[in-house]
Symmetry: C3
Subunit: 340 residues, 3 copies
């Protein structure tokens, strides 16, 4: 049961309603009026809790789980412990996500603007906003309705933040235009100068960074991530892209829609990610590349060339996944021969 | 000599007292009443300073050091320059650490709560605390006695910070329960949402993150490190674990006791580290793995599978250390053949 | 055209003046009195804009660019579209940098010290400084003339910041002596304790960190980068070195003059970089190494040994570039044989 100090739960819900909410099926013979009270992981769930099985690694936990209800792929239904109610769904994790959102809707404090926030004269703040203590908002900035600016956030001059955004504590945003429903986590730095200079042994010569950061709607950006503004072109984060913690995004990078960028990834300047690219943790991408639509890059890969659309790559330097696997296999055979 | 602007030293100490403090031996014929005035690196130490030799790379510096006293392993005693006094100890670095602590005890400012900190009504603050300017502490939070909350720190609602903790400037902590004697460095972000969502091309679906971050006693967490709260289970950092700067720890990760996690390591969600695991810099660990007790992972390794207790691994993908070495050796031989 | 909300441009400039400023040549037959109004990337530039071609990847953009003027290497002049004016320069990017600086000189707000900054009594602040809202400056600190301290910055006791420095919002600086014309980006943490302790299963023993961070003139340090202070010796960043975002620099590291350290690089404790070393993104360097003058390390390399001056290295573990290339080539041949 989530800690009541931090999370407040909504009322119980009937299994049938949760099935309707998620497009799931209640198997014949199971009670659609069963009332679910909470969501919980498989190994902690009790008889009134709903859990889910998505990753087969957790199948053994599933088999002995005491969860009253579980969302599972139909293929797994026969593995359920006896007495467990089921919601059958081909995408159990997504169904669980919607159910958990229903039990724990995101709540925002009542609108208020702290008297100890430092808001320049003329800043436009929409209705329903929360501006917490110590936030600093520069001249000419605009904050859309229903946005929540955390404590000690610093928003630079003329920055535009859309409506229903959430800017985590101590984030710093400058030279940026941010859409609606954008969530920026604590400690992010967005819009500072890119790493642009001409190398010179008498002292590197700075290139003025004259672009912006454009963040489209529904983007999420993790804690302590850094996104440099463009050098002339803009840096762009496309609609619905999710970026994890401690990611570095260089100047002029364009990221398409719906991409997923895991923790500690680094994307060098002027590289383009088309839509729906997925990068696992610690991937590094050289500059001036194009990563095709739907490409998937395995964790810690180092990408030095363009990646075709839809391709999976891994390695350093990164290769198509099959070539990487073959490389490993060959190496293993060589080692065996070498020993014998 | 440490810069007196930043560090204040306690009184001189007799060699015999330092030997007693650290379980070291003063070799026969050396004066146990010799007064040591300060600690200093080998290459800067003078005749009243105590230094240490731990890493054999610095043996040449040791041989010509002007340090009055040096803590060394007994094996190295015969390498000492003539006239140098010695403290013999099988763990010279640990002995040096205790001596340096005695000369430079950690000092805390006199208790005070800044009037320009923003402390919600009802926050419990123990005796002897320091709360610096601009710190923001949310409703329901508790700060144990003798803790030091740095300038512009943001502590979220209902967070519990134990006694004798130190929270560095501009850190952001939410959804967390923190033990005693915990040191969190500046810029850390702890307790924000994990990277949890179901991928969907129509817009990824956020999974509410309903767990906490539990930090046990005597933990240290480096600057700008990020630790996400659990998604349902908690994220846990075990007693006495030390974490360096810019580390990313995903949701539901459990780290055991006494682990050492160097800079820029990334640990993906739901991975378990048993006690006393050591990871060098930039290691990446995939999610849902178990890293056995006392395992040691070399710098920049990419770990894709469970690691047995006590095993050393290196590589990308990581292998047991001997296998990694053999891989390198084989590759080198192949290259030679290939050329000839 | 840069967004006028964020960037303000100076007056138009004659081609002849821009040639003089940068040591460039206007080819015979082109009008040296042509007035340039702005700078712009090749693919956005119009007939009154100046652009540049440096990276041959962008040659096709150059051939069809509508830029009125372009700075190019003389070798590329014959590729210019008809009607385009040229500035010929062997270092077009550096020439462009100087021209862009002339059009967009860095502007600083009028001097002011916010009443909502928390400045300890006795802090010395030079003439012409800007101290923004929420900044916290500890006892004994000194800020040189013309320096700009961003909002919510925290500067610890006795820290010295030179003249004409810029400290980005929410940066945290302690135990440091900083030269002139230093630019520290938002969210940096500089001067906290290094990761220094003796491992002990009963509880690691902290080694007091008694050194400082010394930052020489004209250094740039990127957003959310962390630099630990020395343990006894100092951590030193040499004159004119540029460091990108999310870089980790361990205690006692010495970085020479004019180095370039790209994003997410990690440099372990006590390593020395001689002058003009270049490291691409995500490089990791083990501790206690010496990286020779002018060495260049390719992205994501893991360096485990000293690197001779001038050498290029790549790989994990890093090898001289030719050896790395040979390794890849051999591996590819083995794979082909293995398949056949």
């Amino acid at each position: 049961m989530p800690d009541r100090r931090f999370f407040s739960r909504s009322e119980p819900k009937a299994l049938a309603d949760l099935a309707a909410l998620t497009g799931s099926t209640v198997p014949a013979g199971m009670d659609p009026q069963f009332m679910v009270e909470d969501v919980s992981p498989l190994d902690h769930a009790g008889p009134r809790d709903l859990s889910f099985l998505d990753n087969v690694r957790y199948k053994d936990q599933f088999r002995v789980s005491k969860a009253g209800v579980c969302v599972v792929n139909p293929d797994m239904a026969q593995e359920a412990p006896s007495g467990m109610l089921l919601l059958l769904n081909r995408e159990p994790y997504k169904a669980y996500a919607r159910i958990a959102q229903a039990f724990y809707p995101q709540r925002m404090p009542a609108p208020f603007v702290s008297k100890s926030a430092y808001i320049a004269t003329g800043v436009k703040i929409g209705g329903g906003c929360v501006i917490e203590d110590g936030a600093v908002i520069g001249r000419g900035a605009e904050i859309g309705e229903g946005s929540w600016i955390g404590a000690n956030v610093v928003i630079g001059e003329n920055v535009v933040v859309g409506s229903h955004c959430q800017i985590g504590a101590n984030a710093v945003i400058s030279y940026s235009l941010i859409g609606d429903h954008v969530c920026i986590y604590p400690g992010c730095c967005i819009g500072q100068d890119g790493f642009g200079f001409a190398i010179d042994s008498a002292g590197h010569v700075k290139v003025p960074q004259l672009g912006r950061v454009l963040i489209e709607d529904h983007v999420q950006i993790g804690a302590n991530t850094t996104i440099d503004r463009g050098s002339g072109p803009d840096t762009v984060i496309g609609q619905g892209t999710w970026i994890d913690n401690l990611v570095q995004i260089g100047h002029n990078v364009k990221i398409g829609k719906g991409c997923v960028i895991a923790g500690q990834v680094g994307i060098s300047g002027s590289t383009i990610l088309e839509d729906y690219v997925v990068m696992a943790g610690q991937v590094g991408i050289a500059g001036h590349l194009r990563i095709g639509k739907g490409a998937r890059i395995a964790g810690k890969s180092g990408v030095l060339r363009d990646v075709p659309a839809g391709e999976e790559q891994m390695g350093y330097p990164a290769l198509p996944l099959r070539a990487f696997m073959r490389q490993i296999a060959t190496l293993n055979r060589m080692i065996k021969k070498d020993k014998s």
